[in-house]
């Protein structure tokens, strides 16, 4: 018989080991899924995890790694603060889109005259747009006690509708021969978010992600606000006893997450996406939720998890084109990662014991 025994203190060993175990289990289960789909499982796993780093096209794909990891990390760091406090912002995708639209709007307002100041203004507008979009669930929650999970998620679909309006209407390139999509921001120097070191994929968004990781780390480990965030998530009544205002935390956590997601959107629209288009939203806001949990809601963990998730993106695209795997299979593979992580998470708080039933004479 199998029994679970609660540990007196969470196991530090398993807290560090569960993400690794989850990745291994995902490889096994994912391999089985690829085999059922008729693909050689070892080749598929190697294409996803090995080839982008050390394969034939690694010189290009390694750069793509940071391009994909940057927004994931930036969004996930913001989300992790809320998740720690028990505030479930599921709508980072919407905040990401609104940040991109606001930032791009500011950039386009200056076209064709502009200077060095355009890009910093766009970053601020992006952060502000994401923040404002996140304030909708925050205010509704604190004023009317609505559920922030539902409101933030539903606002993603509103944001997507606004995005298609922007691409086909108010932000459309007037010289674009009627095609949907805005002017290309990455080709106009004052608004571009270029690669800073050629071949690395390092752009301002990646820099911002690294800075966010450092700030979040200091906030959580040294600052009283970080302590309050952790306390509110673990023991809400004790948090009120400690003088923590739940409403203030909701506004702060949603606001930070929204601002970071909005910035991520801006860096994307001015960088690798280049323009506001109908298919600009690529699901970073949702994948970042997996990244946040895979990284154990710990800033350094999120950094590593973001790189790993970027690897499955880059490798997954390779597998989709080279091995003809359906892209849905890649998404299922990424989902498995979260699934297994949450499952083996049990081990950090519980001990598994095998009880052998002795036969009675």
């Amino acid at each position: 018989m199998l029994i679970l025994e609660k540990r007196p203190s969470p196991s530090r060993f398993w807290q560090a080991a569960t993400p690794v175990l989850a990745v291994l289990l995902t490889m096994v289960a994912g391999g089985a899924m690829f085999a059922i789909l008729g693909t050689e499982p070892v080749a598929a796993i190697r294409t996803i995890f090995w080839d982008p780093l050390f394969g034939e096209f690694a010189w290009y794909l390694r750069g793509q790694l940071l391009v994909k990891a940057g927004p994931l990390i930036l969004i996930a760091v913001g989300l992790s603060l809320g998740f720690r406090a028990g505030i479930w912002n599921i709508g980072a995708e919407g905040q990401y889109i609104m940040g991109a639209i606001c930032g791009a709007g500011v950039g386009l307002a200056f076209y064709p005259d502009g200077g060095w100041f355009v890009f910093p203004l766009m970053v601020m507008a992006g952060a502000l747009g994401g923040w404002a979009w996140a304030m909708i669930p925050a205010v509704l929650k604190t004023r009317f006690n609505t559920n922030e999970i539902l409101v933030s998620l539903m606002l993603v679909y509103v944001a997507q509708t606004i995005l298609s309006k922007a691409a086909t209407g108010f932000l459309r390139n007037p010289e674009g021969a009627g095609f949907p999509g805005s002017r290309n921001l990455s080709r106009w120097q004052p608004s571009a978010n270029p690669e800073l070191i050629a071949g690395t994929g390092m752009h301002w968004g990646v820099v911002a992600a690294f800075i966010a990781v450092i700030f979040a780390y200091i906030l959580l480990s040294r600052h009283i606000l970080g302590f309050q965030i952790r306390l509110a998530g673990q023991a809400p009544r004790a948090a009120r006893f400690a003088g923590v205002s739940p409403a203030r935390l909701v506004v702060l956590c949603l606001g930070i997450a929204g601002a970071l997601a909005g910035m991520a959107g801006l860096f994307e629209v001015a960088g690798s996406a280049g323009q506001i288009s109908i298919d600009f939203a690529s699901g970073y806001g949702f994948t970042a939720i997996i990244v946040a949990f895979l990284g154990r809601l710990n800033p350094v963990g999120i950094l590593l998890a973001g790189l790993l998730m970027a690897l499955t993106y880059v490798g997954g695209e390779m597998a989709a084109t080279n091995l003809r795997l359906p892209s849905a299979a890649i998404q299922a593979f990424q989902g498995m990662l979260l699934f297994f992580l949450l499952a083996v998470d049990l081990l950090s708080n519980y001990r598994v014991r095998f009880l052998l039933k002795r036969g009675v004479a």
Binding site: P8, S9, P10, R222, H223, I224, L225, F227, R230, L231, Q234, A235, R237, A238, A239, R240, F241, A242, G243, S245
Partner: protein, 197 residues
Amino acid sequence: MKIDGVEAGQLGPNARRQAGLVAAPEERLGHAAAPDMSLVENALLSGAVRKGLVRGGFVDWSGTRSFAEGIVKEFDVRTPGTHVAARALSGGNLQKFVVGRELSQAPRVIVINQPTWGVDAAAAASIRQAILDRAADGAAVVVISQDLDELLEIADSFAALNGGRLTTPRPVAGLTIEQIGLMMGGAHGMEVAHHGH
């Protein structure tokens, strides 16, 4: 409601602490202490304001650790160290930690609910002594307890809560069990029934 002349009725928890109030809620795990946090973090939980453990928004962790270690030492909390989670402590030891944390803050007003619940006799005696010491230092103490003997031992005045009404506090000296029974039964403020005609 005033603490040392400061209007305290409308203040939040930390402003009240600033004014001199400490409180030990009845439910230790989940209200007075966060189960999964270490004793150091739990010392910060209510000690941050009066012990000055936060400077410019940043937590003085080494100061907090020595505060926690001081509580463990002075109140004889049996634990392998201050790094363990609060939930790992036995009920009595967590009780000693929570009460000790509040009493170690040089309080002006102490509100303490069930101070000696679940602790052994020796520890209960030292907790009561610690409360009396603070009272001798000039703190006002409100003890809420179901243990009548304990209240009669440490209190100067006694009041019973019945049906949402608090009786007029009466001096403990000279109070008989019968009078207490009447107060607890809600017979306060009533006239004694007249016998016969």
